[in-house]
Amino acid sequence: MTDLTSMTIAEARNGLAKKSFTSLELTDAHLAAIEAARSLNAFVLETPDRARAMARAIDAKIAKGEGGPLAGIPLGIKDLFATKDVRTTACSKILGDFVPPYESTVTSQLWRDGAVMLGKLNNDEFAMGSSNETSCFGPVVNPWRREGSNTTLVPGGSSGGSASAVAALLCMGATATDTGGSIRQPAAFTATVGVKPTYGRCSRWGIVAFASSLDQAGPIARTVRDSAILMRSMAGHDPKDTTSVNRAVPDYEAAIGKSVKGMKIGIPREYRLDGMPAEIEKLWSEGGAWLKAAGAELVEVSLPHTKYALPAYYIVAPAEASSNLARYDGVRYGLRVPGRSIGEMYENTRAEGFGAEVRRRVMIGTYVLSAGYYDAYYLRAQKVRTLIKKDFEDCFAKGVDAILTPATPSAAFGVGEKGADPVEMYLNDIFTVTVNMAGLPGIAVPAGKDAQGLPLGLQLIGRPFDEETLFSLGEVVEQAAGRFTPPRWW
């Protein structure tokens, strides 16, 4: 059955159409893979019965020639997405055994198009983290290991379960969310493709909110084409989300293989960090060279406010989070730890329900919004955000079609390695947060390996709603770099 799990979505789609196998067979193969890979802790909830029922239903549709664009494709769903009648916890104790009576817009569009749900994927608690170590279900294990080492590595975060599961062939693709790099960083750590769409491209309705002005859903898949296929189903206007944009969803897959000749690719000087590992530097140049070979033109560009992005992000995101997480109060659903007064009940519930990182961010966010600090922190961070956005606008105004950067400042690190200093962990997002702050689309594509054999990724940043260019360019990188699959050890 390994054959069935190692296929791409595009290949499985053809196989299903040709009736070479059924969705039920495909689904069973993945369920078996999930069962065999429990040591990765990628899934926090397996839904085999539901998966098989969905597969049977879609097989019947395929037989009648009625399958949608994702007919019969088994997917994993990040636990941040509300799934009707299926436990949804955002990997936080505070949601307990919460079972939503509703389905997120993004997942409902996947089911509309015929996809099959295998289960819910692990993530950092409320998507706050860069290593998937803050999950109340415990850390996710990266299927990749350093050559000759048994050290357990993190898959990145917050969409660590999605990245790990896709890389380990447990599902053909996965939903993920990205607030500061939570799709692209884990994709880079696991040699998968991760797309953070333009803010407003995918509906946020039914996705547990972290930072509303930054959160965006996107896919993690094994190829650029697969990510484009998933994007088409995930994207679209939703009247239930005022911030979603009413714009036709293009056929993203059609952008794959389109010539990139004459495209101007910006290489931002400010992303060349002091002390950046030589292999990251090398990977970046190599990526540029591949795009150049494909006919694109490289231009050095300046994004002068880049260095303020991370500090500003760690004001804006916690500020919104502190307010978004206020609803977890033990009154209506989820965990409730009693107290002698309503105040004490709140305190007990939130102290026990939230993990350390979430509590830290709620406190930071509360602080920066407080009377007397609002102007100095929140307002100033919003001004920085405007400047960062303007940096990109200026760059695109000069005819730049996309910007090429490394996806992360390093390859995957070990579990527990970066726990002590939160700032060290936050630095993981250094290349990705600017994209969220500016609301732009970004894609992380596997591009090579470091000296220890761990995957590294490159990031391409596009104009608003120009995901298509990212798919075209991403595929050029993918073609040149090749695909990377972790040797199976689990």
Binding site: R204, W205, A209, V331, Y374
Partner: protein, 492 residues
């Protein structure tokens, strides 16, 4: 801003002036809530009008109800206020079980409506102009039920998320009468516009009252806020009490603590609810789930064009068109239902120009007087506008006298029926044939020579004859005609 003189309070150290500002919370008339599709209907079983958004389920997002925006803009226009084409929704963060999201969506720095003004009527025909600072949209809170269990409080989310307009006055109000007149007028405008039903008993209209005192014209004093008043009379009582309380403290050498207070109508006093130190830090910030609220000049213009006639305009029209006194016009326009009733009477009159004023007198004195006596309101009036118009027509065209008209009104009130038919059937018509009266007059003169002498000596005594003639004719003759006839006959 007040053009009227206002009440000062005499203290031990001389006169004190009150400075009062009101924050009125008016529930927007709309089928569904401000950011969800749930019903706003009053009085449903607990937690039956609740959407996923109202319950603040994970991942739920607010979507602005355009009808509420429309109503807010219409209200702003009715208050002669500036309409802001761009406004912003903010989150007001606080923890309490009546706030399922952990924040209230409100408008903080950029409200949908800016400065405006309201003219209020005071006793003695005086008016005062009260400035409006702003109007913004916000969510109502849930209701807590404390009497359902000995150890727990329950939450009813039916009201949670219902749209409110918070209308903030400038501190232009100078005494309790003005405050009451302001709320009365505001309520009237809202009801004319149909943007709030103004039902204070159901909590559709509530006011927070800010009160401070100072020496007339002196610097502003420290204010206290009296929360959640839902009766116009209580507002007046609370202000009187609160002002005297503050004056007493200051005159005793104390200082006023800025605090939030509650009015206890049973004891007639205010008491401290929380001090400034205990005040929340609401950590306002723009709600990232919602885009700024933007609409065009044309949108506002279209709403303005469709605005109904408001009380001030109606009052002016009644005065100019029918010669009503300012007082009578005010009485008629104060409540939309009263004005509508009068308008219907007008529409049914045979001769509006001739009898418009008479009709106003009848609506105010006879009908309202009688309704007040019976404790009824205009919507349940046993006498319809058509019936009243018919009575006024009968007086106006001289078919019946005013005196008979009162009897007729009583019959219609008690028994109903068509006034014209009743006049015919019961022979209530005024006798206009002087020939018929002449016989009666002659008989009375012949039978009372002593009275004739008296009348000749003292013409006022003629009234005795008028009374006798009216009595003999059952009130059906025109007293003016009788008067003229008598004068001729008696030669005076």
């Amino acid at each position: 801003m007040s053009t009227a003189t206002h009440k000062l309070i005499k203290g031990a150290t001389g006169d004190w002036e009150m400075v009062i500002g009101l924050e009125v919370h008016a529930q927007v008339t709309s089928k569904s809530k401000l950011f969800s599709g749930a019903s706003t209907e009053f009085g449903g079983e607990p937690n039956t009008h609740v959407s996923l958004v109202d319950a603040a389920m994970p991942g739920m997002l607010p979507v602005i109800n355009e009808e509420c925006v429309r109503q807010a803009v219409r209200t702003g226009l009715g208050l002669n206020a500036q309409i802001n084409l761009r406004s912003v929704f903010d989150r007001k963060n606080y923890f309490y079980p009546d706030s399922p999201q952990g924040y209230q969506i409100s408008q903080y720095k950029s409200p949908v409506v800016g400065e405006g003004e309201v003219t209020v009527e005071l006793d003695g025909g005086k008016t005062a102009t009260i400035g409006i600072e702003r109007l913004h949209l916000e969510q109502d809170a849930a209701k807590l039920l404390h009497d359902q269990s000995p150890s727990m409080s329950f939450v009813d989310l039916n009201r949670s998320g219902v749209g409110l307009m918070e209308i903030v006055s400038k501190p232009d109000i100078r005494d309790a009468e003005q405050a009451k007149a302001y709320v009365t007028k505001l309520r009237s405008i809202l009801r004319y516009l149909g943007t709030c039903d103004g039902d204070m008993e159901k909590g559709s209209l509530r006011a927070d009252v800010n009160v401070s005192v100072r020496k007339p014209g002196g610097p502003l004093g420290t204010r206290c806020e009296i929360k959640n008043m839902n009766s116009i009379n209580f507002i007046g009582q609370a202000i009187e009490y609160e002002a005297r309380r503050q004056i007493e403290i200051i005159e005793d050498g104390g200082v006023i603590d800025q605090e939030t207070r509650l009015y206890d109508p049973n004891k007639g006093e205010t008491r401290s609810m929380r001090s400034k130190e205990e005040a929340h830090d609401y950590r306002y910030f723009p709600d990232p789930d919602l885009l700024p609220l933007e609409f065009s000049e044309a949108y506002v213009a279209a709403l303005k064009a469709e605005l109904p006639e408001l009380p001030d305009q109606k009052k002016a029209r009644f005065i100019a068109g029918f010669g009503l006194s300012a007082y009578d016009a005010s009485v008629l326009v104060a409540e939309r239902e009263s004005a509508d009733f009068y308008e219907t009477v007008l529409a049914k009159l045979a001769d509006q120009a001739r009898d418009g004023k008479l009709a106003a007198n009848w609506v105010i004195n006879e009908l309202f007087g009688r309704l007040n006596k019976e404790g009824q309101d205009i919507t349940g009036s046993p006498v319809s506008a058509e019936q009243l118009a018919a009575i006024v027509d009968l007086i106006g065209d001289g078919t019946i006298s005013g005196k008979i008209a009162k009897d007729l009104f009583e019959i219609v009130w008690q028994e109903g029926g068509d006034p014209r038919a009743l006049v015919e059937a019961r022979g209530m018509k005024q006798v206009t044939d002087l020939g018929a009266i002449e016989k009666v007059v002659d008989d009375i003169i012949a039978a009372n020579p002593d009275k004739v002498e008296q009348a000749k000596a003292k013409p006022a005594a003629i009234q005795w004859f008028v009374g006798q003639v009216m009595k003999a004719s059952g009130g059906k003759v025109d007293p003016k005609a009788v008067n003229v006839l008598l004068k001729t006959k008696l030669g005076i």
